[in-house]
């Protein structure tokens, strides 16, 4: 009982990790805030100079990735954009790290791509955890409770220090109340293409239509407008990444186009039916006659009667 109690206590408190964040843009900063609040030590490097911002946050910033690696963090957390992931990972001076006890983690919105990239680039002794916190500075601004955190332990030891590091890292999100979803990278990408990528696509399309508030907005239109505004705040690089680096995205584009064509063709069919009713079948109220299949039948009956 006592041992179990101790174990639980340890799990609750977790061990404090030294986390090296590579790529310290908005999302890296967003995650770092919570990690620091939880008592973890965060160091960072980035293409841009974030020295001052890091100083204010309590993060040690290194202009040179090599200096970050020399600190031998427990976790290398890549927070680059999807498109910058490969060159960033390839440029990391792995020789400075204790690779066999370093956990590599990514947080990209696509998962098969970083998984395969990690497996290709990293030496076999490196531990790999692929994750996707499905929220950001907007949706997870106040709290993370109930928001999905997807992860896939690609190469994590069953026990020992590396297993512990992985559990401690996951505990960062678990302890904030995230909905922890263990899922293969392939499943993630399949689901995310039909949900996240589709939502971004709809918002991008509506973004090109410049939706304006009108004096007579319906509730639904307001919802659509706010969704579009929120989504188009994301970078074009993210959207391109969601498309290029998710093997299922093209299928969703095709599905969306087919759905658009279906709706459009239904409407055009109505138009043609009405004009044909009016000009060919000489129906006096083509709008009403064409309104339902039953009216269409009645209409046909009328025509047949006339033909007699």
């Amino acid at each position: 009982m006592e041992a179990k109690g101790m174990q639980m206590l340890q799990k609750e408190n977790g061990h404090k990790l030294r986390i090296g964040i590579v790529g310290f843009g908005k999302f890296g900063q967003f995650l770092a805030k919570t990690m620091i609040r939880q008592g973890h030590s965060v160091i960072a490097s980035s293409r841009s100079d974030y020295s001052e911002l890091c100083n204010n946050m309590g993060v040690t910033f290194f202009r040179d990735q090599r200096d970050l690696c020399k600190e031998r963090p427990d976790v290398i957390l890549l927070c680059t954009t999807i498109l910058a992931m490969e060159p960033t990972l390839r440029s990391l001076p792995l020789e400075e790290l204790n690779t066999s006890s370093t956990l590599f983690v990514d947080v990209l919105s696509v998962k098969e791509f970083p998984m395969n990239l990690f497996l290709e680039v990293l030496p076999p002794e490196c531990q790999i955890l692929c994750t996707h916190p499905m929220f950001g500075p907007e949706s997870g601004n106040i709290r993370w409770a109930g928001l999905p955190f997807v992860y896939d332990k690609i190469r994590v030891s069953e026990e020992g220090i590396c297993a512990q590091k992985c559990n401690d890292f996951l505990a960062i999100f678990e302890s904030e109340g995230c909905k922890m979803v263990e899922m293969t990278c392939a499943d993630h990408d399949r689901y995310a293409a039909g949900s996240q990528f589709l939502t971004h696509t709809v918002a991008r399309i509506l973004g090109h239509m410049n939706l304006e508030p009108t004096p007579i907005d319906t509730k639904s239109y307001e919802t659509l407008r706010h969704l579009t505004e929120a989504m188009t705040g994301h970078s074009m690089d993210l959207y391109n990444g969601l498309f290029l680096c998710n093997a299922n995205a093209m299928e969703q584009m095709e599905k969306l186009e087919r759905a658009f064509d279906t709706v459009k063709n239904e409407l055009m069919g109505k138009l043609h039916g009405m004009v044909a009713n009016q000009l060919v079948h000489r129906v006096s109220d083509p709008l009403f006659s064409g309104s339902s299949s039953s009216s269409f039948k009645e209409n046909n009956l009328k025509i047949k009667e006339r033909e007699k």
Copy 2:
């Protein structure tokens, strides 16, 4: 002062109207509930038999439109679908009404169509008020406060009994706290094509994609899914009416298609740029090279250097 006080009191309480609702489907029933609660007298007729429902609601139901007209209601409120409006109006036995003191009102989601139809079918002494309560049994289920009520006094006397009837009718919505928007039918249709019709179209398109909840829904995807569910609850007849009977709807379809094509072509351009970079320009990381216009320039510089 006293006279003014009396006038205000009268206005607040309003006069009780006898309202004849023609077409007693969901929307007619929805409006009738509030009218009855406010103390107005409601009579109704419809293609379907709503005798029992009306009995329970405190509404007098007539199977025959002629019997409804014989009751000489103050207001004839047409609550048919867009597509059924013309045959219903044309079949009304106007000779039974005291046309010169009857106010004709419609509540359709398009406005130029019923306006022109009223002007064409009704004798010149009839009073005409075109309205669009921009809510329904879903969005206005609990209260109407703040929800837009659009109206256009097409042919309403400046003073006298008909002016009073019109004010009393508008007061039904004003007293519930609706946002009263006086607007021409043409302006309404222009705004509504870009907001209401567009929202219905997006929901219809997504309806064809069978959006399913996934274990990893983002907040935005949830919003889109709920919007689609709520909107596709509306009848196909309503959607067809919004398209066929709004002169601005086709323009919005074209705009939506252009926006879709823009997004699609941007993505396809990315794809081709990457393949061209890889195969023609022999770039090792085409994903990263093609990620922004600045990288593209750098890339071009590299190519030029090589060409020297």
